[in-house]
C-alpha cells in the first residue's frame, strides 16, 4: 500500500486541476489522492470536517501527506487533525510545500512506494527545479 495524498484548497476547480496535472505523472499507476475543496454550496472556502474525511479516505494505514493552498486551508487542515483519532492523526504530515509543485513531486514518489517522510520531503523540495531553472 502507498502513502495517501490529500489536497486542500478553497476552490474545487483548482484542486481538481492540480490533481489532474499530478496524475499525468502516473500513467497506469494507482494512488489514493483525495480532494477537500470548496463549500457545499459551490462557493470558495475550506471545511475542516471534509478535510478529516478526505484524510480517512486516503489513509491505507501507511499515512497521508496533505498539501494545501493558503490561509484557511492551513487552519482547516490543522483543525482536521484535532477531529481525527490520535492513531490516525499521528500518521498525517501537513506539508508547507507549494500546492502544485509539491503535489506533483509527492505523488510521483508516493506511487513509487516511498514512506510518508520521503513523500513529505519530496513535496518540500518541489520548488527546487523551478529555482534551478530561473537561477
Amino acid at each position: 500500500m502507498s502513502v495517501g495524498v490529500v489536497v486542500v484548497s478553497h476552490s474545487r476547480a483548482l484542486a481538481d486541476a492540480a490533481v489532474e496535472l499530478a496524475r499525468q505523472m502516473l500513467p497506469g499507476r494507482e494512488l489514493a489522492i483525495e480532494v477537500a475543496a470548496g463549500m457545499d454550496d459551490g462557493s470558495l472556502g475550506t471545511d475542516a470536517v471534509a478535510v478529516s474525511e478526505a484524510i480517512t479516505a486516503a489513509d491505507s494505514g501507511e499515512g497521508v501527506v496533505v498539501l494545501m493552498d493558503l490561509g484557511s486551508a492551513v487552519l482547516s487542515a490543522e483543525t482536521a487533525l484535532e477531529l481525527l483519532d490520535d492513531d490516525v492523526s499521528d500518521r498525517v504530515t501537513l506539508s508547507a510545500a507549494p500546492l502544485v509543485e509539491g503535489l506533483v513531486g509527492a505523488v510521483v514518489v508516493a506511487a513509487g512506494g516511498a514512506t510518508r517522510d520521503q513523500v513529505a520531503r519530496e513535496a518540500e523540495r518541489g520548488l527546487a527545479p523551478k529555482q534551478a531553472q530561473l537561477g
Binding site: 478553497h10 463549500m39 454550496d41 462557493s43 470558495l44 472556502g45 475550506t46 471545511d47 475542516a48 470536517v49 471534509a50 490561509g71 484557511s72 487552519l75 482547516s76 490543522e78 483543525t79 484535532e82 477531529l83
Partner: protein, 196 residues
C-alpha cells in the same frame, strides 16, 4: 461572571450572535473587502445560520454539548479562516464551561491563539477577545468585557495587519477596523445581552 451558564442561556447567546452577524453582515464584508477577501460577513452568516439550525433541530443536552455543536458546525460551514478560529474558540470553551463562563472564554481564547498563532497587535480577533478575557478574569462584568472588546476593535483601525489575507496588503491594511475583531466585539455584545 463566574457562574456556569445554562444551556438555555448559551443557546440564547449563539442565537443573538447569529442575529448580530446577520444584521451587520454587509458591514463585516465591507471591512473585509477593504483589507481582505470580502467574505467575512457572508462566511460568518452562513456559519451562524447553520449553528442556529443545528441547535434548534436537535437541542443539545448540556452546556458543553451546545458549545461543541456550535464549534463543530463552524469549522465545517464558515469556509474562511474564521471557521477554524471561531470553531476552535467554541470547542475549547466546551471543555472548560463547567468552571464558568470566564474560564471557558479564556480557554477558548487560548485555543484561538494556538490555532491562529496571532499575537496582540497583529490586527486580528485576538485584539478584541484578549481584552474581554482580561476584564472577566479580573472580575469585571460582561458589559465591561463587551466594552473592552469594542475598544479593542477600535484600536485595530490604525494597525497594519500581520496575519491572514490582509497581511498581503502591508501598510494599505491600516485605516480600517479588523473584520474579525469587529465580529468578536458582536460576540461579546451578544454575551452581555444574554448571559448577564
Amino acid at each position: 461572571m463566574s457562574d456556569t451558564p445554562t444551556t438555555e442561556q448559551l443557546t440564547a447567546w449563539v442565537t443573538r450572535f447569529a442575529e448580530l452577524v446577520r444584521e451587520h453582515r454587509d458591514e463585516l464584508t465591507a471591512l473585509d473587502s477593504a483589507i481582505g477577501d470580502a467574505d467575512h460577513g457572508s462566511n460568518m452568516d452562513r456559519g451562524m445560520t447553520a449553528v442556529v439550525a443545528a441547535v434548534t433541530e436537535a437541542p443539545p443536552a448540556d452546556p458543553a454539548a451546545l458549545l461543541k455543536k456550535t464549534g463543530a458546525t463552524l469549522v465545517s460551514k464558515v469556509g474562511g479562516a474564521s471557521g477554524p478560529l471561531y470553531g476552535t474558540l467554541f470547542l475549547r470553551m466546551a471543555g472548560a464551561v463547567e468552571e464558568g463562563f470566564a474560564p471557558a472564554l479564556r480557554a477558548g481564547f487560548e485555543g484561538v491563539l494556538a490555532r491562529g498563532k496571532a499575537e496582540p497587535g497583529d490586527k486580528t480577533m485576538v485584539d478584541a477577545l484578549g481584552p474581554a478575557c482580561d476584564v472577566l478574569d479580573a472580575g469585571g462584568s460582561l458589559a465591561e468585557a463587551a466594552q473592552a472588546a469594542a475598544d479593542g476593535r477600535d484600536a485595530t483601525v490604525p494597525l497594519v495587519a500581520r496575519k491572514g489575507r490582509a497581511s498581503y496588503l502591508g501598510e494599505r491594511s491600516a485605516g480600517h477596523a479588523d473584520p474579525g475583531a469587529t465580529s468578536t466585539a458582536y460576540l461579546l455584545q451578544a454575551a452581555a445581552e444574554t448571559l448577564s
